[in-house]
């Protein structure tokens, strides 16, 4: 059974924030490009396009990834969660609320990546230490805040989420 070699525009079926999504993309287009330019999901940002800033973080099949380092065609059959899926119709996620209340953003361009990454952390480790938060988020560069309020916001959200759990 020979494997098909895909080129040109490829039809990809995937799941994004729980919804089934189809798109056409060239294999050279990254998942980030497709999210932003084909699907209008512009919450993930391009800060470096080589995996060094975390602004494009999404969760793919339950694992935090940099969507700039994923080919669009690799999304076939995957389940992807983006910043647009973090809040529910009922309201903000505790992390989003905590970022607001702790003033944990300035320009805001790194914020979606931080929230997606922090959510992945708290799902794996609901009670992280400050060091564990800083370690997990080391791949998310923020140039405005000095990280202090971001780290506080994540610890604060973790505490609220544990209290609600």
């Amino acid at each position: 059974m020979a494997t098909e070699i895909q080129s040109g525009k490829v039809h990809v079926q995937t799941t994004i924030n729980g919804e089934s999504v189809d798109f056409l993309a060239e294999p050279r287009e990254s998942l980030l490009e497709v999210l932003r330019d084909n699907l209008g999901l512009t919450g993930a940002k391009e800060g470096c396009n080589n995996g060094n800033c975390g602004a494009c973080n999404v969760v793919m099949d339950g694992v935090l990834v940099n969507s700039c380092c994923v080919l669009s065609v690799e999304a076939a059959g995957a389940s992807i969660e983006t910043i647009e899926g973090v809040a529910s119709p009922e309201g903000l996620h505790p992390l989003q609320q905590s970022f607001l209340e702790n003033a944990a953003l300035q320009c805001g361009v790194c914020t979606p990546g931080f929230i997606v990454a922090a959510k992945a952390l708290l799902e794996e480790n609901p009670n992280p230490t400050e060091y564990e938060v800083r370690w997990w988020l080391a791949g998310n560069l923020c140039r405005c805040t000095g990280y202090d309020k971001i780290v506080r916001a994540v610890l604060d959200a973790a505490e609220r989420m544990r209290a609600e759990a």
């Binding site: 494997t3 294999p27 396009n49 995996g51 935090l64």
Partner: protein
Amino acid sequence: MRAIQYAAPSTVEDAVAILAEHGSDARMLAGGTDLIVQVREDARDTGVFVDAKKIPELMDLSVNADGSTTLGAAVPCHQLYNNAQFAASYPAVVDAARIIGSTGIQGRASVGGNLCNSGPAGDTIPPLIVHSAVCNIAGPDGERTVAVEDFCTAPGRNVLADGELLVSLTLPKPPAGSGSHYLRFIPRNEMDIAVVGAGASLVLDGESITAARISLGAVAPTPLFVQAAGDALIGLTANEDSFAVAADIARDAASPIDDMRGTIAHRKQLSYVLTQRALRGARARAQGGSPTNGH
């Protein structure tokens, strides 16, 4: 990025067939954290991306009947530190898996990919070397094995011929009384390329060293297996004096260059310091503890 083709074979045979057909224009795509970026930035010219992640053998992580472990070439780093058995057996490899890129990178990047990228500073390579890992390679002419220390041939190059792929690594069962550690020096605390990396494994009988392997990264065109440094420790007591002997040999073996990430003088000094620290960490683990220095 140049236009590319993409294939996601489900068997090693199919992958070999595609690689053989496209020769040097094709490469295996594991986590893609090096390959995608390199092609995007014109640092590598690859036209056919062959996705490794649908091939069961490349995603395998299991313990064999002889106690050795098979690590599929595309198994992402995050699976290693979340696997208690693997982490207990091959701590130096896990040390490396935990510090490659970010959490997001570790969600995709694989040890096999790191090895095939064959960078002199590849963090997982010294740990594989000190664990005596062996590469299982498949190709048009069948299968072959190569010791990890013989795998890389130059910066970005390795022994894989056109049509060949790295299927998995075999890591021998660590003997009783053994411990390993890998650490690197970087100017930041994360998200950096090793200025120097050092891996060490020790097998202790009481305080006495019965086997030792030391490997350095980023001090030569390929990750360096400093066999003489390990050999010099055999029969010695696992103490600071002995470690200093090995560290001296390691420093002498290092032949680094000046580049944007470090200077020759600094790398020489770091070769010494990191060898000592890797040995201390390996000793701590051999004695049931954990390393106290370095990330």
